[in-house]
Protein backbone atom coordinates (compact mmCIF):
# COMPACT_ATOMS: atom_id res chain seq x y z
CA UNK A 1 0.00 0.00 0.00
CA UNK A 2 1.19 3.51 -0.77
CA UNK A 3 0.03 7.01 -1.58
CA UNK A 4 1.11 10.07 -3.59
CA UNK A 5 0.00 13.69 -3.19
CA UNK A 6 -1.35 15.02 -6.50
CA UNK A 7 -1.47 18.57 -7.86
CA UNK A 8 -4.70 20.54 -7.50
CA UNK A 9 -4.92 24.33 -8.00
CA UNK A 10 -6.39 25.12 -4.60
CA UNK A 11 -6.63 21.91 -2.67
CA UNK A 12 -4.76 18.62 -2.52
CA UNK A 13 -5.36 15.27 -4.18
CA UNK A 14 -4.35 11.92 -2.67
CA UNK A 15 -3.88 8.92 -4.95
CA UNK A 16 -3.55 5.66 -3.06
CA UNK A 17 -3.21 1.96 -3.84
CA UNK A 18 -3.56 -1.19 -1.75
CA UNK A 19 -3.95 -4.93 -2.18
CA UNK A 20 -7.30 -4.91 -0.34
CA UNK A 21 -10.04 -2.35 0.26
CA UNK A 22 -8.79 -2.01 3.84
CA UNK A 23 -5.26 -1.26 2.61
CA UNK A 24 -6.35 1.35 0.09
CA UNK A 25 -8.52 3.07 2.73
CA UNK A 26 -5.59 3.11 5.16
CA UNK A 27 -3.20 4.40 2.48
CA UNK A 28 -5.63 7.23 1.64
CA UNK A 29 -5.81 8.09 5.34
CA UNK A 30 -1.99 8.09 5.50
CA UNK A 31 -2.09 10.50 2.53
CA UNK A 32 -4.44 12.76 4.46
CA UNK A 33 -1.92 12.81 7.33
CA UNK A 34 0.95 13.34 4.86
CA UNK A 35 -0.82 16.37 3.41
CA UNK A 36 -0.96 17.91 6.88
CA UNK A 37 2.49 17.10 8.24
CA UNK A 38 5.80 15.94 6.71
CA UNK A 39 7.67 15.24 9.92
CA UNK A 40 5.88 12.94 12.37
CA UNK A 41 7.48 11.75 15.65
CA UNK A 42 7.03 8.25 17.11
CA UNK A 43 4.67 9.38 19.85
CA UNK A 44 0.97 9.02 20.63
CA UNK A 45 -1.53 6.37 21.65
CA UNK A 46 -3.53 4.29 19.21
CA UNK A 47 -7.31 4.72 19.09
CA UNK A 48 -10.10 2.80 17.33
CA UNK A 49 -12.36 4.00 14.55
CA UNK A 50 -15.65 2.38 13.52
CA UNK A 51 -17.73 3.52 10.53
CA UNK A 52 -20.76 2.17 8.64
CA UNK A 53 -22.16 3.44 5.35
CA UNK A 54 -24.38 2.53 2.42
CA UNK A 55 -21.67 2.04 -0.22
CA UNK A 56 -17.90 1.59 -0.54
CA UNK A 57 -17.44 5.18 -1.69
CA UNK A 58 -19.62 6.55 1.11
CA UNK A 59 -17.66 4.42 3.59
CA UNK A 60 -14.38 5.91 2.37
CA UNK A 61 -15.85 9.44 2.61
CA UNK A 62 -17.26 8.88 6.11
CA UNK A 63 -14.04 7.22 7.30
CA UNK A 64 -11.89 10.17 6.20
CA UNK A 65 -14.44 12.60 7.70
CA UNK A 66 -14.31 10.64 10.97
CA UNK A 67 -10.50 10.96 11.08
CA UNK A 68 -10.76 14.74 10.54
CA UNK A 69 -13.38 14.91 13.32
CA UNK A 70 -11.22 12.84 15.68
CA UNK A 71 -8.24 15.07 14.85
CA UNK A 72 -10.16 18.14 16.02
CA UNK A 73 -11.76 16.69 19.16
CA UNK A 74 -8.77 14.61 20.34
CA UNK A 75 -6.22 17.22 19.16
CA UNK A 76 -4.14 14.52 17.48
CA UNK A 77 -2.92 13.75 13.95
CA UNK A 78 -4.08 10.23 13.01
CA UNK A 79 -1.14 8.35 11.42
CA UNK A 80 -0.18 4.68 10.73
CA UNK A 81 -3.76 3.93 9.85
CA UNK A 82 -4.99 0.34 9.83
CA UNK A 83 -8.34 -0.66 8.39
CA UNK A 84 -10.48 -3.71 7.78
CA UNK A 85 -13.49 -3.32 5.49
CA UNK A 86 -16.33 -5.81 5.25
CA UNK A 87 -19.61 -5.99 3.38
CA UNK A 88 -22.48 -6.78 5.74
CA UNK A 89 -24.64 -9.85 5.25
CA UNK A 90 -27.36 -9.60 2.62
CA UNK A 91 -30.10 -9.91 5.21
CA UNK A 92 -29.25 -6.51 6.59
CA UNK A 93 -32.43 -4.75 5.54
CA UNK A 94 -31.13 -1.34 6.37
CA UNK A 95 -29.43 -0.38 3.15
CA UNK A 96 -27.83 2.60 4.93
CA UNK A 97 -25.19 0.43 6.57
CA UNK A 98 -24.32 -2.20 4.01
CA UNK A 99 -20.60 -1.58 4.44
CA UNK A 100 -18.63 -1.48 7.69
CA UNK A 101 -15.13 -0.61 8.71
CA UNK A 102 -13.05 -1.23 11.81
CA UNK A 103 -9.77 0.56 12.03
CA UNK A 104 -7.28 2.25 14.26
CA UNK A 105 -4.73 5.04 14.11
CA UNK A 106 -1.87 6.34 16.18
CA UNK A 107 -2.84 9.81 17.38
CA UNK A 108 0.19 12.09 17.46
CA UNK A 109 -0.56 15.05 19.76
CA UNK A 110 -0.90 18.22 17.66
CA UNK A 111 1.04 20.07 20.35
CA UNK A 112 4.15 18.08 19.37
CA UNK A 113 4.09 18.79 15.65
CA UNK A 114 3.80 21.57 13.09
CA UNK A 115 0.82 20.68 10.96
CA UNK A 116 -1.40 22.39 8.44
CA UNK A 117 -5.14 22.01 8.41
CA UNK A 118 -7.10 19.95 5.90
CA UNK A 119 -10.66 21.22 6.24
CA UNK A 120 -12.67 18.37 4.79
CA UNK A 121 -12.93 15.38 2.48
CA UNK A 122 -14.78 15.96 -0.82
CA UNK A 123 -16.57 13.75 -3.34
CA UNK A 124 -15.19 15.81 -6.20
CA UNK A 125 -13.45 13.53 -8.72
CA UNK A 126 -13.45 10.72 -6.15
CA UNK A 127 -12.40 7.34 -7.55
CA UNK A 128 -12.42 3.95 -5.83
CA UNK A 129 -11.77 1.21 -8.34
CA UNK A 130 -10.13 -2.16 -8.90
CA UNK A 131 -6.61 -1.86 -10.23
CA UNK A 132 -4.06 -4.41 -11.48
CA UNK A 133 -2.76 -5.33 -8.07
CA UNK A 134 -5.80 -4.59 -5.92
CA UNK A 135 -7.49 -1.21 -5.43
CA UNK A 136 -6.88 2.40 -6.36
CA UNK A 137 -8.43 5.48 -4.72
CA UNK A 138 -8.30 9.17 -5.63
CA UNK A 139 -9.65 11.74 -3.18
CA UNK A 140 -9.56 15.56 -3.22
CA UNK A 141 -9.34 17.24 0.19
CA UNK A 142 -10.34 20.85 0.88
CA UNK A 143 -7.39 22.83 2.24
Amino acid sequence: MSYELRDHTADVGVEATGATLGEVFAATADGLAGAMCEDVPETGERFDVTVRAESKEALLFDYLDELIYQRDVRAVLPVENEVEVREEAEDDENDQSAWALEGSARGVPLAEITAREIKAVTYSEMALEKADSGWRAYVVFDV
Binding site: L5, I68, D72, E117, T122, Y123, V143
Partner: protein
Protein backbone atom coordinates in the same frame (compact mmCIF):
# COMPACT_ATOMS: atom_id res chain seq x y z
CA UNK B 1 -11.31 38.10 -31.33
CA UNK B 2 -14.92 36.96 -30.96
CA UNK B 3 -14.28 33.51 -29.58
CA UNK B 4 -11.75 31.96 -27.21
CA UNK B 5 -10.83 28.31 -27.61
CA UNK B 6 -10.03 26.51 -24.35
CA UNK B 7 -9.55 22.84 -25.20
CA UNK B 8 -12.97 21.49 -26.15
CA UNK B 9 -14.76 24.55 -24.73
CA UNK B 10 -15.45 27.54 -26.99
CA UNK B 11 -16.23 30.81 -25.27
CA UNK B 12 -18.04 33.53 -27.17
CA UNK B 13 -17.28 37.15 -26.49
CA UNK B 14 -20.41 39.02 -25.37
CA UNK B 15 -18.48 42.24 -24.84
CA UNK B 16 -15.21 43.36 -23.33
CA UNK B 17 -14.35 40.99 -20.41
CA UNK B 18 -17.62 39.02 -20.71
CA UNK B 19 -17.39 35.52 -22.24
CA UNK B 20 -20.20 33.03 -22.63
CA UNK B 21 -20.22 29.25 -22.88
CA UNK B 22 -23.43 28.40 -24.79
CA UNK B 23 -25.91 25.94 -23.35
CA UNK B 24 -25.32 22.34 -24.45
CA UNK B 25 -25.93 18.80 -23.19
CA UNK B 26 -27.36 18.80 -19.67
CA UNK B 27 -26.71 22.50 -19.05
CA UNK B 28 -29.89 24.31 -17.96
CA UNK B 29 -28.44 27.74 -18.82
CA UNK B 30 -25.34 29.18 -20.47
CA UNK B 31 -22.30 29.96 -18.31
CA UNK B 32 -20.29 33.16 -18.24
CA UNK B 33 -16.68 34.00 -17.42
CA UNK B 34 -15.78 37.57 -16.53
CA UNK B 35 -12.12 37.96 -17.41
CA UNK B 36 -9.50 39.58 -19.57
CA UNK B 37 -7.79 37.31 -22.08
CA UNK B 38 -4.76 37.22 -19.80
CA UNK B 39 -6.86 35.93 -16.89
CA UNK B 40 -8.74 33.57 -19.20
CA UNK B 41 -5.40 32.00 -20.19
CA UNK B 42 -4.96 31.07 -16.51
CA UNK B 43 -8.60 30.17 -15.82
CA UNK B 44 -8.66 27.74 -18.76
CA UNK B 45 -5.59 25.83 -17.59
CA UNK B 46 -7.29 23.68 -14.95
CA UNK B 47 -10.83 22.28 -14.57
CA UNK B 48 -12.51 25.63 -13.78
CA UNK B 49 -14.54 25.79 -17.00
CA UNK B 50 -15.66 22.17 -16.74
CA UNK B 51 -16.78 22.76 -13.14
CA UNK B 52 -18.57 25.97 -14.19
CA UNK B 53 -20.44 24.12 -16.93
CA UNK B 54 -21.31 21.35 -14.44
CA UNK B 55 -22.87 23.88 -12.06
CA UNK B 56 -25.45 24.89 -14.67
CA UNK B 57 -26.88 21.36 -14.42
CA UNK B 58 -28.33 22.32 -11.01
CA UNK B 59 -32.10 22.83 -11.31
CA UNK B 60 -33.33 26.41 -11.11
CA UNK B 61 -30.11 28.20 -12.11
CA UNK B 62 -31.27 31.60 -13.34
CA UNK B 63 -29.79 33.44 -16.35
CA UNK B 64 -26.33 31.86 -16.19
CA UNK B 65 -23.70 30.57 -13.77
CA UNK B 66 -20.77 32.97 -13.55
CA UNK B 67 -17.03 32.65 -12.95
CA UNK B 68 -15.39 35.75 -11.46
CA UNK B 69 -12.04 37.13 -12.76
CA UNK B 70 -10.12 35.32 -9.97
CA UNK B 71 -11.81 31.95 -10.61
CA UNK B 72 -10.00 28.64 -10.37
CA UNK B 73 -10.68 24.93 -9.94
CA UNK B 74 -12.30 23.91 -6.68
CA UNK B 75 -14.43 20.90 -5.79
CA UNK B 76 -17.82 20.60 -7.48
CA UNK B 77 -18.45 24.30 -8.07
CA UNK B 78 -15.39 26.37 -9.06
CA UNK B 79 -13.88 28.87 -6.64
CA UNK B 80 -14.99 32.28 -7.89
CA UNK B 81 -18.39 30.84 -8.84
CA UNK B 82 -21.75 32.61 -8.54
CA UNK B 83 -25.16 31.06 -9.21
CA UNK B 84 -28.58 32.56 -8.51
CA UNK B 85 -30.95 29.61 -8.01
CA UNK B 86 -34.72 29.90 -7.76
CA UNK B 87 -36.00 29.33 -4.19
CA UNK B 88 -39.34 28.03 -5.49
CA UNK B 89 -38.43 25.42 -8.06
CA UNK B 90 -34.65 25.29 -7.78
CA UNK B 91 -32.34 23.90 -5.11
CA UNK B 92 -29.63 24.69 -2.60
CA UNK B 93 -26.22 22.98 -2.79
CA UNK B 94 -23.81 22.79 0.18
CA UNK B 95 -20.92 22.03 -2.17
CA UNK B 96 -21.65 25.24 -4.10
CA UNK B 97 -21.21 27.19 -0.85
CA UNK B 98 -18.10 25.31 0.21
CA UNK B 99 -16.94 23.65 3.41
CA UNK B 100 -15.75 26.89 4.97
CA UNK B 101 -19.17 28.51 5.37
CA UNK B 102 -18.82 32.31 5.67
CA UNK B 103 -15.14 32.24 5.04
CA UNK B 104 -14.64 35.97 4.69
CA UNK B 105 -12.62 39.07 5.29
CA UNK B 106 -12.91 42.06 7.54
CA UNK B 107 -10.90 45.25 7.59
CA UNK B 108 -10.31 47.34 10.68
CA UNK B 109 -9.17 50.94 10.35
CA UNK B 110 -6.72 52.71 12.65
CA UNK B 111 -5.66 56.34 12.89
CA UNK B 112 -2.00 55.29 13.02
CA UNK B 113 0.24 56.17 10.11
CA UNK B 114 2.95 53.93 8.65
CA UNK B 115 5.56 56.08 10.41
CA UNK B 116 3.91 55.34 13.78
CA UNK B 117 4.47 51.62 13.22
CA UNK B 118 7.92 51.63 11.57
CA UNK B 119 10.59 50.20 13.81
CA UNK B 120 8.02 48.22 15.79
CA UNK B 121 7.00 45.75 13.09
CA UNK B 122 8.89 42.85 14.62
CA UNK B 123 7.43 43.41 18.08
CA UNK B 124 3.98 43.73 16.53
CA UNK B 125 4.23 40.57 14.44
CA UNK B 126 5.62 38.57 17.38
CA UNK B 127 2.88 39.78 19.68
CA UNK B 128 0.12 39.13 17.17
CA UNK B 129 1.50 35.66 16.48
CA UNK B 130 1.70 34.87 20.19
CA UNK B 131 -1.82 36.12 20.96
CA UNK B 132 -3.97 35.26 17.94
CA UNK B 133 -4.51 31.47 17.81
CA UNK B 134 -3.55 29.93 14.46
CA UNK B 135 -2.60 26.63 12.88
CA UNK B 136 -3.89 23.16 13.66
CA UNK B 137 -4.81 22.52 17.31
CA UNK B 138 -3.97 26.09 18.31
CA UNK B 139 -7.15 26.59 20.38
CA UNK B 140 -9.26 29.73 20.33
CA UNK B 141 -9.55 33.13 22.02
CA UNK B 142 -12.27 31.72 24.30
CA UNK B 143 -12.60 28.24 25.73
CA UNK B 144 -16.28 27.43 25.59
CA UNK B 145 -18.96 24.88 26.33
CA UNK B 146 -21.83 23.73 24.16
CA UNK B 147 -24.26 26.28 25.64
CA UNK B 148 -21.92 29.06 24.51
CA UNK B 149 -21.64 27.51 21.04
CA UNK B 150 -25.45 27.41 20.82
CA UNK B 151 -25.69 31.06 21.86
CA UNK B 152 -23.15 32.03 19.18
CA UNK B 153 -24.95 29.98 16.51
CA UNK B 154 -28.23 31.61 17.49
CA UNK B 155 -27.22 35.24 17.93
CA UNK B 156 -23.91 35.77 16.12
CA UNK B 157 -22.30 39.12 16.85
CA UNK B 158 -25.13 40.01 19.26
CA UNK B 159 -23.57 37.38 21.54
CA UNK B 160 -20.18 39.07 21.15
CA UNK B 161 -21.76 42.41 22.06
CA UNK B 162 -23.43 40.95 25.18
CA UNK B 163 -20.14 39.38 26.27
CA UNK B 164 -18.08 42.53 25.82
CA UNK B 165 -16.12 41.39 22.76
CA UNK B 166 -17.80 43.92 20.45
CA UNK B 167 -19.19 47.46 20.43
CA UNK B 168 -22.45 48.39 18.65
CA UNK B 169 -20.53 50.01 15.75
CA UNK B 170 -18.91 46.63 14.98
CA UNK B 171 -22.36 45.16 14.32
CA UNK B 172 -23.47 48.15 12.25
CA UNK B 173 -20.43 47.66 9.99
CA UNK B 174 -20.91 43.96 9.32
CA UNK B 175 -22.89 42.31 6.51
CA UNK B 176 -26.40 41.63 7.96
CA UNK B 177 -25.31 43.46 11.14
CA UNK B 178 -23.45 40.31 12.15
CA UNK B 179 -26.43 38.04 12.72
CA UNK B 180 -28.53 35.80 10.49
CA UNK B 181 -31.86 35.40 12.24
CA UNK B 182 -32.74 32.41 10.04
CA UNK B 183 -30.23 30.33 11.99
CA UNK B 184 -31.29 27.27 13.95
CA UNK B 185 -28.62 25.77 16.24
CA UNK B 186 -30.63 22.55 16.57
CA UNK B 187 -29.94 21.85 12.88
CA UNK B 188 -26.18 21.79 13.58
CA UNK B 189 -24.88 18.36 14.64
CA UNK B 190 -23.22 17.57 17.94
CA UNK B 191 -20.10 16.62 15.96
CA UNK B 192 -19.96 20.09 14.41
CA UNK B 193 -20.38 21.78 17.78
CA UNK B 194 -17.70 19.54 19.34
CA UNK B 195 -15.26 20.57 16.60
CA UNK B 196 -16.10 24.25 16.93
CA UNK B 197 -16.12 24.72 20.67
CA UNK B 198 -12.35 24.96 21.09
CA UNK B 199 -11.76 27.01 17.93
CA UNK B 200 -13.74 30.21 18.62
CA UNK B 201 -11.42 33.06 17.75
CA UNK B 202 -8.81 31.33 15.59
CA UNK B 203 -7.38 31.77 12.11
CA UNK B 204 -6.83 28.13 11.12
CA UNK B 205 -4.29 27.63 8.34
CA UNK B 206 -4.12 27.38 4.53
CA UNK B 207 -4.71 30.78 2.95
CA UNK B 208 -6.09 32.35 6.15
CA UNK B 209 -4.15 35.15 7.73
CA UNK B 210 -4.10 38.36 9.71
CA UNK B 211 -2.26 41.22 8.07
CA UNK B 212 -1.33 44.70 9.19
CA UNK B 213 -1.30 46.87 6.08
CA UNK B 214 -0.66 50.43 4.99
CA UNK B 215 -2.87 52.24 2.52
CA UNK B 216 -0.72 53.12 -0.48
CA UNK B 217 -3.27 54.60 -2.88
CA UNK B 218 -6.80 55.91 -2.90
CA UNK B 219 -8.79 56.25 -6.13
CA UNK B 220 -12.33 57.48 -5.52
CA UNK B 221 -11.76 60.29 -3.05
CA UNK B 222 -15.36 60.73 -1.88
CA UNK B 223 -15.79 56.99 -1.31
CA UNK B 224 -12.40 56.64 0.38
CA UNK B 225 -13.42 59.47 2.69
CA UNK B 226 -16.75 57.80 3.47
CA UNK B 227 -14.83 54.60 4.27
CA UNK B 228 -12.38 56.57 6.42
CA UNK B 229 -9.35 55.61 4.33
CA UNK B 230 -6.37 57.78 3.42
CA UNK B 231 -2.84 57.23 2.16
CA UNK B 232 -0.24 56.00 4.67
CA UNK B 233 -2.89 54.93 7.14
CA UNK B 234 -2.49 51.58 8.94
CA UNK B 235 -5.34 49.06 8.60
CA UNK B 236 -5.72 45.43 9.69
CA UNK B 237 -7.17 42.69 7.50
CA UNK B 238 -8.50 39.44 8.98
CA UNK B 239 -9.24 36.46 6.72
CA UNK B 240 -10.78 33.31 8.23
CA UNK B 241 -14.06 31.39 8.41
CA UNK B 242 -16.26 29.08 10.46
CA UNK B 243 -13.49 26.60 11.31
CA UNK B 244 -14.28 22.92 11.98
CA UNK B 245 -17.88 23.73 12.84
CA UNK B 246 -18.69 25.03 9.37
CA UNK B 247 -16.69 22.28 7.65
CA UNK B 248 -18.70 19.66 9.53
CA UNK B 249 -22.05 21.33 8.70
CA UNK B 250 -21.23 21.13 4.99
CA UNK B 251 -20.05 17.52 5.27
CA UNK B 252 -23.10 16.43 7.28
CA UNK B 253 -25.61 17.93 4.84
CA UNK B 254 -23.75 16.74 1.75
CA UNK B 255 -24.19 13.19 3.07
CA UNK B 256 -27.81 13.66 4.18
CA UNK B 257 -28.72 15.08 0.77
CA UNK B 258 -26.88 12.26 -1.01
CA UNK B 259 -28.99 9.71 0.91
CA UNK B 260 -32.34 11.51 0.58
CA UNK B 261 -32.15 13.01 -2.91
CA UNK B 262 -30.31 10.41 -4.95
CA UNK B 263 -32.65 10.98 -7.90
CA UNK B 264 -31.52 14.56 -8.38
CA UNK B 265 -27.91 13.62 -7.62
CA UNK B 266 -27.88 10.99 -10.37
CA UNK B 267 -28.55 13.76 -12.91
CA UNK B 268 -25.60 15.89 -11.77
CA UNK B 269 -22.17 15.45 -13.35
CA UNK B 270 -20.26 15.81 -10.05
CA UNK B 271 -21.32 14.20 -6.76
CA UNK B 272 -19.95 17.18 -4.85
CA UNK B 273 -22.76 19.32 -6.34
CA UNK B 274 -25.38 17.30 -4.38
CA UNK B 275 -28.36 19.59 -3.88
CA UNK B 276 -31.58 19.65 -1.85
CA UNK B 277 -34.64 20.61 -3.93
CA UNK B 278 -36.24 23.92 -2.91
CA UNK B 279 -39.05 23.34 -0.42
CA UNK B 280 -37.66 20.01 0.86
CA UNK B 281 -36.97 19.56 4.57
CA UNK B 282 -33.26 19.23 3.90
CA UNK B 283 -33.18 22.48 1.92
CA UNK B 284 -34.74 24.27 4.92
CA UNK B 285 -32.57 22.47 7.47
CA UNK B 286 -29.35 23.09 5.57
CA UNK B 287 -30.22 26.77 5.12
CA UNK B 288 -30.87 27.15 8.88
CA UNK B 289 -27.68 25.26 9.79
CA UNK B 290 -25.65 27.26 7.26
CA UNK B 291 -26.99 30.51 8.76
CA UNK B 292 -25.90 29.26 12.20
CA UNK B 293 -22.40 28.56 10.84
CA UNK B 294 -22.41 32.05 9.28
CA UNK B 295 -23.04 33.49 12.76
CA UNK B 296 -20.20 31.37 14.15
CA UNK B 297 -17.78 32.71 11.52
CA UNK B 298 -18.68 36.33 12.27
CA UNK B 299 -18.02 35.76 15.97
CA UNK B 300 -14.77 34.02 15.05
CA UNK B 301 -13.53 37.07 13.13
CA UNK B 302 -14.85 39.39 15.85
CA UNK B 303 -12.84 37.62 18.56
CA UNK B 304 -9.70 37.73 16.42
CA UNK B 305 -10.30 41.46 15.93
CA UNK B 306 -10.93 41.94 19.65
CA UNK B 307 -7.62 40.22 20.43
CA UNK B 308 -5.86 42.34 17.79
CA UNK B 309 -7.12 45.52 19.49
CA UNK B 310 -5.61 44.27 22.78
CA UNK B 311 -2.28 43.55 21.09
CA UNK B 312 -2.17 47.05 19.58
CA UNK B 313 -2.98 48.53 23.01
CA UNK B 314 0.03 46.75 24.51
CA UNK B 315 2.47 47.45 21.68
CA UNK B 316 1.54 51.13 21.19
CA UNK B 317 0.63 51.84 24.83
CA UNK B 318 -2.70 53.48 24.02
CA UNK B 319 -6.32 52.35 24.14
CA UNK B 320 -7.91 51.01 20.98
CA UNK B 321 -10.62 53.66 20.83
CA UNK B 322 -7.98 56.42 20.79
CA UNK B 323 -6.20 54.59 17.98
CA UNK B 324 -9.47 54.64 15.98
CA UNK B 325 -9.55 50.86 15.61
CA UNK B 326 -13.02 50.64 14.11
CA UNK B 327 -14.40 47.94 11.85
CA UNK B 328 -14.62 49.22 8.27
CA UNK B 329 -16.63 46.24 7.04
CA UNK B 330 -16.90 42.45 7.13
CA UNK B 331 -17.73 40.49 3.98
CA UNK B 332 -18.49 36.81 3.46
CA UNK B 333 -17.15 35.03 0.39
CA UNK B 334 -18.50 31.46 0.87
CA UNK B 335 -22.21 31.76 1.36
CA UNK B 336 -25.72 31.17 -0.03
CA UNK B 337 -28.31 33.84 0.70
CA UNK B 338 -31.97 34.32 -0.04
CA UNK B 339 -31.99 37.60 -1.96
CA UNK B 340 -34.47 39.42 -4.20
CA UNK B 341 -33.27 40.00 -7.76
CA UNK B 342 -34.93 41.38 -10.88
CA UNK B 343 -34.99 38.72 -13.59
CA UNK B 344 -36.51 39.75 -16.96
CA UNK B 345 -38.37 42.59 -15.24
CA UNK B 346 -39.75 40.35 -12.51
CA UNK B 347 -38.79 40.29 -8.80
CA UNK B 348 -37.64 36.83 -7.82
CA UNK B 349 -36.24 35.32 -4.65
CA UNK B 350 -33.02 33.41 -5.29
CA UNK B 351 -30.55 31.38 -3.29
CA UNK B 352 -27.50 33.32 -4.45
CA UNK B 353 -24.58 30.92 -4.07
CA UNK B 354 -21.27 32.74 -3.82
CA UNK B 355 -18.29 30.42 -3.49
CA UNK B 356 -15.11 32.45 -3.50
CA UNK B 357 -17.09 35.53 -4.55
CA UNK B 358 -18.07 38.65 -2.62
CA UNK B 359 -21.39 40.43 -2.42
CA UNK B 360 -21.05 43.81 -4.16
CA UNK B 361 -24.25 45.80 -3.68
CA UNK B 362 -24.22 49.32 -5.17
CA UNK B 363 -25.13 52.64 -3.58
CA UNK B 364 -28.82 52.87 -2.69
CA UNK B 365 -29.41 49.11 -2.31
CA UNK B 366 -31.57 48.64 0.81
CA UNK B 367 -29.21 46.00 2.26
CA UNK B 368 -26.20 48.32 2.28
CA UNK B 369 -25.65 49.61 5.84
CA UNK B 370 -26.79 53.19 6.45
CA UNK B 371 -23.27 54.59 6.79
CA UNK B 372 -22.39 53.45 3.27
CA UNK B 373 -25.80 53.70 1.61
CA UNK B 374 -24.80 56.70 -0.50
CA UNK B 375 -21.50 55.27 -1.75
CA UNK B 376 -22.06 51.51 -1.97
CA UNK B 377 -21.04 48.48 0.04
CA UNK B 378 -17.34 48.09 0.87
CA UNK B 379 -15.68 45.02 -0.69
CA UNK B 380 -12.39 43.72 0.60
CA UNK B 381 -10.17 41.81 -1.85
CA UNK B 382 -7.17 40.24 -0.14
CA UNK B 383 -4.12 39.73 -2.32
CA UNK B 384 -1.08 37.59 -1.64
CA UNK B 385 1.60 38.39 0.96
CA UNK B 386 3.75 40.27 -1.53
CA UNK B 387 1.11 41.99 -3.60
CA UNK B 388 -1.21 43.78 -1.25
CA UNK B 389 -4.96 44.03 -1.23
CA UNK B 390 -7.79 46.26 -2.41
CA UNK B 391 -10.88 47.92 -1.07
CA UNK B 392 -13.63 48.28 -3.69
CA UNK B 393 -17.20 49.45 -3.54
CA UNK B 394 -20.22 47.71 -5.00
CA UNK B 395 -20.57 48.84 -8.61
CA UNK B 396 -23.65 50.00 -10.50
CA UNK B 397 -23.46 47.08 -12.96
CA UNK B 398 -23.26 44.32 -10.34
CA UNK B 399 -27.02 43.72 -9.91
CA UNK B 400 -27.48 43.27 -13.65
CA UNK B 401 -24.30 41.33 -14.45
CA UNK B 402 -23.44 39.20 -11.42
CA UNK B 403 -26.38 39.02 -8.98
CA UNK B 404 -24.57 41.75 -7.02
CA UNK B 405 -21.17 40.04 -6.78
CA UNK B 406 -17.50 40.44 -7.60
CA UNK B 407 -14.17 38.65 -7.04
CA UNK B 408 -12.87 37.57 -3.63
CA UNK B 409 -9.09 37.58 -3.97
CA UNK B 410 -6.26 37.04 -6.36
CA UNK B 411 -7.08 33.39 -7.05
CA UNK B 412 -4.50 30.62 -7.13
CA UNK B 413 -2.65 29.56 -10.24
CA UNK B 414 -0.21 27.02 -8.76
CA UNK B 415 -0.92 23.88 -6.74
CA UNK B 416 0.33 23.56 -3.18
CA UNK B 417 2.42 20.52 -4.09
CA UNK B 418 4.13 22.44 -6.91
CA UNK B 419 4.58 25.52 -4.67
CA UNK B 420 6.54 23.46 -2.16
CA UNK B 421 8.84 22.25 -4.96
CA UNK B 422 9.37 25.78 -6.28
CA UNK B 423 9.63 27.70 -3.03
CA UNK B 424 11.16 27.27 0.39
CA UNK B 425 9.38 29.04 3.26
CA UNK B 426 12.55 30.61 4.67
CA UNK B 427 13.55 32.13 1.31
CA UNK B 428 10.07 33.54 0.77
CA UNK B 429 10.19 35.11 4.24
CA UNK B 430 13.63 36.63 3.59
CA UNK B 431 12.56 38.08 0.25
CA UNK B 432 9.48 39.63 1.83
CA UNK B 433 11.59 41.02 4.69
CA UNK B 434 13.69 42.85 2.09
CA UNK B 435 10.47 44.60 1.04
CA UNK B 436 9.84 45.42 4.75
CA UNK B 437 7.07 42.81 5.05
CA UNK B 438 7.34 40.83 8.28
CA UNK B 439 5.85 37.34 8.10
CA UNK B 440 5.47 34.82 10.90
CA UNK B 441 3.81 31.43 10.40
CA UNK B 442 3.35 28.18 12.31
CA UNK B 443 4.70 26.27 9.35
CA UNK B 444 7.35 27.08 6.75
CA UNK B 445 5.42 24.89 4.33
CA UNK B 446 2.41 27.21 4.64
CA UNK B 447 4.61 30.16 3.69
CA UNK B 448 5.84 28.26 0.62
CA UNK B 449 2.31 27.18 -0.33
CA UNK B 450 1.13 30.78 -0.05
CA UNK B 451 4.14 32.40 -1.75
CA UNK B 452 3.19 35.47 -3.85
CA UNK B 453 4.05 33.59 -7.06
CA UNK B 454 1.27 31.00 -6.62
CA UNK B 455 -1.42 33.65 -7.11
CA UNK B 456 -2.87 35.48 -10.07
CA UNK B 457 -2.07 39.16 -10.50
CA UNK B 458 -4.49 40.84 -8.09
CA UNK B 459 -4.07 44.16 -9.96
CA UNK B 460 -5.45 42.53 -13.11
CA UNK B 461 -8.37 40.90 -11.23
CA UNK B 462 -9.33 44.26 -9.73
CA UNK B 463 -8.81 46.11 -13.03
CA UNK B 464 -11.37 43.82 -14.69
CA UNK B 465 -13.86 44.17 -11.79
CA UNK B 466 -13.49 47.97 -12.01
CA UNK B 467 -13.80 48.07 -15.81
CA UNK B 468 -16.98 45.96 -15.69
CA UNK B 469 -18.46 48.25 -13.04
CA UNK B 470 -19.24 45.38 -10.65
CA UNK B 471 -16.73 46.50 -8.00
CA UNK B 472 -15.01 49.90 -8.27
CA UNK B 473 -11.47 50.52 -7.00
CA UNK B 474 -11.40 52.66 -3.84
CA UNK B 475 -8.05 51.98 -2.18
CA UNK B 476 -4.99 49.78 -2.41
CA UNK B 477 -3.03 48.50 0.58
CA UNK B 478 0.39 46.90 1.00
CA UNK B 479 1.40 44.42 3.73
CA UNK B 480 3.43 45.46 6.77
CA UNK B 481 3.13 42.37 9.03
CA UNK B 482 1.47 39.05 8.28
CA UNK B 483 0.71 36.09 10.55
CA UNK B 484 -0.66 32.75 9.37
CA UNK B 485 -1.17 29.17 10.49
Amino acid sequence: MDTYEAGDVTLQKVREYVWEIPREGGMNTPARVLASERLLDEISEDKTLEQLKNSTHLPGVTKYAICMPDGHQGYGFPVGGVAGIDTEDGCISPGAVGYDINCGVRMMRTNLSYDDVRGQEEELVESLFANVPSGLGGGGVVESDLATVDAILDRGMEWALEEGYAVPEDLAHCEDEGVRHDSDPSKVSQKAKDRGKNQIGSLGSGNHFLEVQRVTDTYLDDVAEAYGLEEDQIVVLIHCGSRGLGHQVCTDYLRKIEKAHGGLLSKLPDKELAAAPAGSHLAEDYYDAMCAAINFAWVNRQLVMHRTRKVFERVFDDDWESMGMDLLYDVAHNIAKKEMHTIDGEEKELYVHRKGATRAFPAGHPEVPGTYLDVGQPIIIPGSMGAGSYVLRGGEASMDLTFGSTAHGAGRVMSRTQAKKDYWGGDVQDELAQQHIYVKAQSGATVAEEAPGVYKDVDEVVRVSDALGIGDKVARTFPVCNIKG
